[in-house]
């Protein structure tokens, strides 16, 4: 089960419409960077990017999904996999940064002209959440379906996560990778930050910034046993990965490159190989002076400058494809292993090559043309806004390795942080629940809403200069995360910072500042994007800010797949604790409400359908037993198991009660708990009839269990509510709320688009 292989490839980017075409062009040093055609740029200081205009978005579709489906069709065909034959064991994991940004622009252009003309169908194309659901629908996949939303590191993290889902036994095959379109949002944002180069970028060399790209890379990630059993062609294996945080700045990498180095070292360590084994490094190499100098320093410290390993930045040809970058580069890495040829970094003159020796000794950047090299081990690295770093190792089939084994550590909830319409802090929430208090309601819109104020910031030590930059989503996330650390009694210092991480889940991400930013471009032009707002438009900004204000340098991954994302974060965190160097993971579920978000949910008919929209951020500090016991931590509850299942319906809908039941059965099985032993069920219905129907059917075996739905009081805060359900259950099991005799609780999550999950919690003292 631990051996994971790649059995199919699909790629679309500026230098081609297939994996082979792109790789051939890359080896030849073909540059796909030219004048941008899909974004208005006449008043910008830079005019170039790496688009693939040969691919025209089909009418009525969003470009992020369309690019992704195109690459996935190639990969699925290449692998020969019959998805529908064993659909429950096939999942989808897609990385993205801007997601439906092209549809976002269209929607707000229509909206600014006439609010009534803006279309509901475009709203459903906007969130990152939609992409994996659309891919699952196209192929009929019904396993674990999710999106990784860590900006420019998402494409690498999605493949690492896909491999781990298979290793954990939750799937046999994952359609994994990333997708991002060229968009005015990204172009204007990087322009505002002065991070675009007005000439084709020349990473590590004389580059002044990035060339923005677009594309999608998809890999079929499969268990070795499954691939062998069906006689599949095996390209290579996926070994270990490493994820870290800088805890430094929301957009700039830490100049010392320590976080980058930690990610690189962890991917080597988790693969059981050493730096001297690595033949080729596909570097992040964006071309910004800040990235390139930090990254080069980190690479030289890890690999030395002897020239054994060579490194290239393929972004010099395909541009920076943001959330797709890691997956586009993954395809190049796999092809390098298959063909025994490494792709180059282009844009080097002979003088540049000589000058580079001063900076990097004999380190080989493979200038201008690909070169033959027998490649056994490849490391691929990506770094993102929020200070998130990711590294992964690909290796030739059967190459020696010693993968870090999953531990049997028990995982406990040792801290809870709440920002909810019922009040903030776990104490405030418990008191309000006991008193039967009414939630805080926004007078204008009638939604139950959370509020964070100066007293919250003061009590967690966050200063005005920090929190003024944050959107509401980030403010709630930072406060809730810091409250959870305080409740857990954890003080972050140099000794533990790298062992405390974050897994965040959000349904809709920062839709309010995305709208503010996009409306600014529409009013004033691409050249006038707000440098202040742009960092807030990425979904991982909120956990990025949390890592910065709390000093957390461990794992940091953000998932986006609808309302169940907060509960998914809890489920994924438990696995992260057993497979990585982290002792504590803050599992955060957060979503914001605002005039914009209210309008979007109104547009799609959710509010008239019975959903009571709300918002909040809820954090569960999950901790390894070894760590919790060592410091004598209080334990609210134990995380015992989880299950995921997907219904291949259109994004925006629910369906298949059988799949919710399947998620429940998988969670019970994972936890080793019988349905009859469940004394408490945290339900997930949110007022929409189709979800209530699915839930009622799935709940039949739990007729005698107590049922609680946090949305009855707090409304549908999406990821915040599904995380709150887990927190509320933990508080009940710990005897802080009510007087349940239940030893085991079942927490349910459902996402529009058909993804269901379930988590089983147990009393800590049972």
């Amino acid at each position: 089960m631990d051996r994971i292989v790649i059995t199919g490839l699909g790629l679309v980017c500026a230098i081609g419409g297939s994996a082979d075409e792109c790789f051939d062009n890359a080896v030849a040093g073909k540059v796909g960077i030219k004048e941008v055609s899909s974004v208005e740029h006449s008043k910008c200081y830079a005019h170039i990017g790496a688009e693939y205009p040969e691919f025209v978005t089909p009418e009525g579709e969003d470009r992020a999904t369309a690019l992704c489906v195109k690459a996935a069709e190639e990969a699925v065909a290449d692998s020969g996999i019959d998805v529908k034959k064993d659909a429950d064991r096939v999942g989808v994991m897609i990385g993205s940064c801007v997601g439906g940004a092209v549809s976002i622009e269209k929607f707000y252009r229509d909206y600014v002209a006439d609010p009534d003309k803006a279309k509901a169908e475009d709203v459903l194309k906007m969130p990152i959440s939609a992409i994996a659901n659309n891919v699952a629908l196209r192929f009929g996949a019904r396993g674990v379906v999710d999106n990784v939303a860590n900006a420019c590191a998402a494409g690498t993290m999605s493949i690492a996560m896909a491999a781990d889902i298979i290793r954990s036994g939750k799937a046999d095959v994952m359609i994994a990778g990333g997708s991002d379109p060229m968009s005015s949002l990204a172009y204007s944002g990087f322009h505002a930050l002065h991070a675009l180069d007005d000439e084709p970028c020349r990473p590590f060399n004389k580059s002044k910034g990035i060339a923005l790209g677009e594309g999608a890379g998809i890999l079929i990630v499969e268990s070795y046993e499954h691939a062998m059993a069906r006689g599949a062609k095996i390209y290579c294996e996926v070994l270990g990965s490493g994820v870290s945080s800088d805890a430094h700045h929301i957009t700039a990498p830490a100049p010392d490159g320590e976080g980058m180095q930690a990610a690189m070292e962890r991917s080597l360590e988790n693969s059981g190989i050493s730096a001297s084994d690595v033949d080729y490094i596909n570097a992040h190499g964006t071309g910004t002076p800040l990235n390139d100098s930090s990254e080069l320093g980190a690479m030289l410290r890890v690999f030395g400058s002897s020239g054994k390993a060579c490194a290239s930045s393929t972004k010099s040809m395909v541009g920076h494809c943001l959330g797709a970058a890691g997956s586009v580069e993954a395809v190049f890495c796999v092809k390098a292993i298959e063909r025994g040829v490494v792709p180059p970094t282009v844009g080097y003159t002979d003088e540049d090559v000589v000058a580079m020796r001063d900076k990097a000794g004999d380190f080989d950047f493979v200038p201008n043309k690909g070169k033959k090299k027998d490649v056994t081990y490849v490391q691929s690295n990506n770094y993102a806004f929020g200070g998130n770093n990711a590294s992964i190792i690909y290796a030739k089939e059967d190459a020696p390795r010693s993968l870090r084994e999953a531990t049997a550590d028990r995982v406990f909830v040792t801290g809870i942080g709440v920002v909810s319409p019922l009040g903030n802090t776990v104490g405030g929430y418990v008191e309000a629940v006991r008193a039967g208090s009414a939630p805080n309601v926004c007078e204008k819109c009638g939604d139950a809403v959370s509020a964070v104020g100066s007293e919250d910031f003061a009590s967690v030590g966050i200063k005005l200069n920090f929190y003024r930059k944050l959107d509401k989503l980030s403010q709630m996330t930072c406060v809730s995360g810091k409250y959870a650390l305080a409740d857990a009694g954890i003080t972050v210092d140099d000794g533990n910072a790298r062992k405390i991480g974050i897994v965040a889940g959000t349904s809709d991400g920062p839709q309010t500042d995305i709208a503010n930013f996009q409306k600014g471009i529409i009013a004033n032009g691409t050249q006038s994007g707000s440098a202040f707002l742009f960092p807030n438009t990425v979904y991982n900004a909120a956990p990025g800010y949390l890592s910065i204000c709390a000093g957390l340098k461990g794992y940091n991954v953000t998932y986006a797949n609808g309302a169940a994302s907060g509960l998914a974060a809890v489920a994924y965190s438990a696995r992260v604790l057993r497979t990585t160097q982290n002792d504590v993971i803050l599992a955060v579920g957060a979503d914001e409400d605002s005039e914009t978000v209210h309008m979007l949910y109104d547009k799609i008919g959710a509010l008239s359908g019975g959903m009571k929209l709300s918002d909040g951020a809820v954090t569960l500090a999950l901790e390894k037993e070894s760590s919790a016991s060592a410091r004598g931590a209080k334990k609210y509850a134990e995380v015992l198991g989880s299950g995921f299942a997907h219904c291949d319906v259109e994004f925006g809908k629910y369906g298949c009660s059988g799949q919710l039941k399947r998620a429940i059965d998988l969670a019970l099985d994972d936890a080793g708990v019988k349905a009859g032993d469940i004394g408490l069920v945290m339900t997930c219905s949110n007022g929409l009839a189709s979800l209530s129907e699915a839930e009622n059917e799935a709940l039949a075996p739990f007729a005698s269990a107590e049922k609680v739905n946090v949305r009855d009081v707090c409304g549908e805060g999406r990821a915040a509510s599904s995380a709150l359900a887990a927190a509320h259950a933990s508080l009940m099991l710990a005897g802080e709320i009510g007087s349940t005799k239940a030893k085991y609780a079942l927490v349910l999550g459902a996402s529009s688009g058909g993804s269901y999950n379930a988590v089983v919690l147990g009393r800590a003292d049972r």
């Binding site: 505002a192 200069n465 707000s530 440098a531 202040f532 960092p535």
Partner: protein, 88 residues
Amino acid sequence: MDERQKAVADKIIDYLSETLRLPKENIDYDIPLFGDGIGLDSVDSLEIIAGMNLLFGVTLIGVNDGVFANIRTLSEYIVNSPDYEEKS
């Protein structure tokens, strides 16, 4: 400050308050914008440069750091700039 400069200074305060989400009560004409005062950073300065161009037609790229010292110095530079145009 004369009336003309004061009008510009007040517009800058409104702009900073709205765009950089700074509470108005924290800003006066003489508080240092960077460092120990309000503590703006490099991203904020990009936003100020873009905003002054948008509001007053004045380009601040490459100007002396002293211009950004506080609202008084910034407004003074703007009203004395040949590019300064009063926009509604």
